[in-house]
Amino acid sequence: MESGGGARRGRMVIDPKVRQVGFVTPGEQDGPAGVSSSSAQVNAPDSPAPVMIPPAPRVAVPAAADHSPPKPAAPVPIPPRSPPLPPRNFDAEDEMPLGSYNPGGEGVLAGSPNSSYGKASSEKAEIGDLSPTMVAELNSSMMEMSLERSKYELPVPEKENESTADVISERVEVPAINNNEGPENDARQRKLKDRTSKAERRALQESQRAAKEAARASAAVAKAKPPPQKKDGSNEKKGVDKKPVDKSGEKDKKKEVVVPEKDKRKDAPAPRLQFDDEQKVAKARRRAIVEQTTETKHRVELFRHLPQFVPPTQLQALEEKYLQNDTMHIHPAVYQVGLKYLTWDIVGGNARCVAMLEAFKEMIRDYTTPPQKVMSRDLTAKINSHVSFLSTCRPLSISMGNAIRSFKLKIGKLRDTLTEAEAKSSLVSHLETFAQEKIILADKEIVKHAVTKIIDGDVVLTHGFSCVVEMVLSHAHSIGKKFRVVVVDSRPRLEGRILLRSLLAQGLKCTYTHINAVTYIMQEVTKVFLGAASILANGTVYSRVGTAAAAMVAHGYRVPVMICCETYKFHERVQLDSICSNELGDPDALVGVAGRKEFRELVGWDESEHLRLLNLTYDATPADYVSMIITEHGMVPPTSVPVILREYRKEPIL
């Protein structure tokens, strides 16, 4: 059912700013041309992903194309679906013949036509048959007015046998009526009045009021920002023309209509703090709990906009505030986790995320709503302050960002009727499920998938230390696969040694080398397994620095590169380089070389005018270098990341 709206949602992912607002601005509805173009778009096979889209009711599309000419060129303010309830109830109660097949239509809509492809295609005919119903159904919720009219205008028994085309043409006339202009309309209205019951009239009235409001709102919106609106309109219409839009989708839209402004604000990607913007930084610092001493003189010019490295001296300042109550009441558990981020005692997307969830759990358990406050609001504010504390310790990882987002969403959706204890336990269980499902079980699933890709005689290369890759390798070893591992490491953190130690302890054959020898070692490698901090919507893999080099070399040698990554780390953002968003590490970490005391050339580097040290933490691997991404939902090519985002991560959009 979700993929029913596949093409439409796909667009939303690519261009998240475009929201389905539910009405079209006057003057932008460009009649036939617009319709045909939009329907052409729909037909275009470039829907971004190999998802299983159920066979669309193909009859509808050509029908729409055929009947587009009679479409009025007048501005079409499609009424919003804000007052949906009265007419719906009315539908149900109403004994008009339309209602008689309503349930059937509902059934099809409620069942999932695309749960399997075969099923969907077997239902194809049925869908085709029912498409008028669906369109009418659509109308019922989207354009109350038209529904009313269609019911009373059409000789009802005939309508069932009518072709889709008729229904659509019927629908197409609707907008003109919505404007309530012209004598024809008046006549119809009068006719309606004669024939409708009290409840019906009331519903009608309400829908008219809603239509008017919508017209007003659309005018306002059009003034505000016309260009995206246009896209919206075509989108909207496309949905109407072609797809039997599922109920849940409609519900989404209804919600959006209720709070369009707020929603937009929330959904627009918050502009990230650019750390070379002095005013903003000063402002942020004033709000910060800890005074940021990140005024490092020796910034690298290209990376001035990134949050600067938090020096370990900050640790002492932070620790001293530990037990003081005035620092915005940071819960001790969260405080400890923050300090561990700062000292890099907890590293890695999964570990940091799990630690944060655990700390939040503690915090929720100790939480009591202050008097005169609503739990969900107060808790959201509290979480915000805690999160900002964590991000002063170390910039948040994308995995944490996603976890926080889902948690805040959960808080926002708490019902007021719950008692505090119930709400708390539901939040705690949400945190537990998140850690369990999205991280632990997901890892198990990834291991299951990935192990199938290792065959006897393989030489597997990995870079740095990814806990999932470690699990994959050790599991493959434990089920008796014969393979060799090449651990490629890079300074200054040398995390690969942790992996090396654990693999050696399990009796795996290993080779250890540094990233500068990767071109040499790649000749004997047959597969590359890498971890990721995040995978972005364009398939870019955002991971520990060095990953891109390893992947590129592997690509050059035609060695398949497989990325193991849980889907909760996926992100809608698109990033083409590792400059616009990254994290700076400790520049002093580059100064010394372990075991080489005589290497002291860089000591005192910060006194030099002309020298800057740059220690980046992440890099971006272009999707071209990635053969496959192994997720808990299966193995997908990097081009399918948007599909995963769309299909499996719908909560944030709701």
Binding site: E320, Y322, L323, H331, P332
Partner: protein, 416 residues
């Protein structure tokens, strides 16, 4: 927030080191420092850090009663303090054993009651918890000249030399996070023995004598109680318990990434001192009246001194900077007070000079007295033209007309 820690304050009793300043009437905990009882500095520090669950252990029954009544009066609405007493002879480890049944939190902080310090305890608590340590000790950098400068007690130079020799030897790793070796100077023979396994574990051990063990430890409760239980003969926390835990830190099941014994080295700007000798008492009083005045919470006047509004001074009387004059004290004409602390309700006649000294409450100094580098306890009466240099005068002592004393400890006969 502070619920995760319980605090044990070992307040001591009437310590012999501080004779004749302390007695049964004035236990060490109530010794005035800048006109405030010594214990109040520790309790205020605890209160600042939201460590509200405090047990105070006092040696000696009488002292216990006095400390208890004072705490009940001063802190009844601020801290949850329980005062218990142990016998005079018992050591600090015994004090800890006596309150062991009351401890229930995961970590216990043990504080010496004679500490005057502004290191935020949260820092130690946090460091302890972050490293999941079994023991965290607070170490303060020793100021270079400490113990060598002119001291109030006027104890002989030999003793001073002894004092220096008694500096603790503390072994840390290169990052100054791990505590690898502790020995107090007095115990120390000619050699320092660091277990080889610790050397191997840490790679490098730095031995410090420039760090002061502030006698503030955060313990893992179970670890501490087990060590106390197994070793019945442990008397002192610092001399027996802590070195034992440090020595055997590898034996306790160590989790990867945690430290069994860690050290928190306070920043150089922090003040930390202990009132364990008479000269330290004089020094701390002067510090508190001077640079560390913020510890007392008094507001400093433009003259860089603190004079209680109810104190009266006669004509031509000069009170220098870094002085504290307590409530209701009266000074006559042509007096001079320099770098000294004068307590409450003292009556000082004309032409009296008080320099570098501590004068406690209800002291009478008649005309023409000269007090230098001395400590004068409560209710002492100096008759006319008495000269005191480097002396300590015990409570209630009366010195006759025109007497002159140098480097003496004067106290009532029956107490000697």
């Amino acid at each position: 927030m502070g619920d995760e820690y319980q605090v044990v304050v070992v307040a001591g009793g009437s310590s012999k080191d501080l004779f004749p300043l302390v007695s049964k009437d004035v236990p060490k905990a109530l010794l005035p420092i800048g006109n405030r009882p010594l214990l109040s500095y520790v309790l205020d520090l605890l209160e600042d850090s939201n460590l509200n669950n405090v047990s105070v252990v006092v040696a000696g029954h009488e002292s216990g009663v006095r400390v208890g009544s004072w705490i009940a009066e001063a802190y009844h609405d601020r801290l949850q303090v329980e005062v218990s007493t142990v016998s005079e002879e018992s050591g600090t480890a015994d004090a800890l054993r006596s309150v062991a049944h009351r401890l229930s939190s995961e970590n216990v902080m043990v504080v010496s009651g004679d500490m005057v310090c502004d290191v935020p305890l949260g820092a130690i608590a946090s460091s302890h918890k972050r490293q999941r340590a079994g023991l965290t000790a607070l170490l303060c950098p020793r100021t270079p000249g400490e113990g060598c400068e002119a001291s109030a007690g006027g104890v002989g130079t030999k003793e001073k030399a002894k004092q220096l020799a008694a500096a603790d030897v503390i072994g840390l790793d290169s990052a100054r996070h791990r505590l690898l070796y502790v020995a107090s100077g007095s115990q120390l023979g000619k050699e320092v023995k660091v277990p080889l396994c610790l050397m191997r574990e840490a790679g490098q051990v730095e031995l410090h004598t420039d760090l002061l063990d502030a006698h503030l430890y955060a313990f893992n409760r179970e670890l501490m109680l087990e060590a106390l239980e197994r070793n019945e003969k442990f008397k002192s926390i610092k001399r027996d318990l802590v070195p034992h835990i440090v020595r055997s830190q590898l034996k306790h099941g160590r989790v990867e990434g945690t430290l069994s014994c860690s050290a928190y080295v306070a920043g150089k700007a922090r003040y930390c001192a202990r009132v364990n000798t008479i000269e330290a008492y004089g020094d701390i009083n002067r510090d508190v009246a001077g640079d560390a005045i913020y510890l007392t919470g008094y507001t400093v006047s433009g003259m860089n001194n603190v004079i209680h509004p109810s104190a009266q001074t006669g004509a031509k009387t000069a009170i220098g900077p870094q002085c504290i004059i307590g409530e209701g004290s009266e000074l006559g004409e042509k007096c001079s007070v320099k770098r000294s602390v004068v307590g409450r309700h003292c009556r000082i006649g004309s032409n009296v000079k008080v320099i570098n000294s501590v004068v406690m409450n209800h002291v009478t100094l008649e005309d023409g007295c000269l007090v230098q580098n001395s400590v004068i306890c409560s209710n002492v009466h100096l008759q006319e033209r008495v000269t005191l240099k480097d002396c300590q005068v015990g409570c209630g002592y009366v010195i006759g007309v025109g007497a002159e004393h140098r480097s003496e400890a004067l106290a009532k006969k029956e107490k000697v």
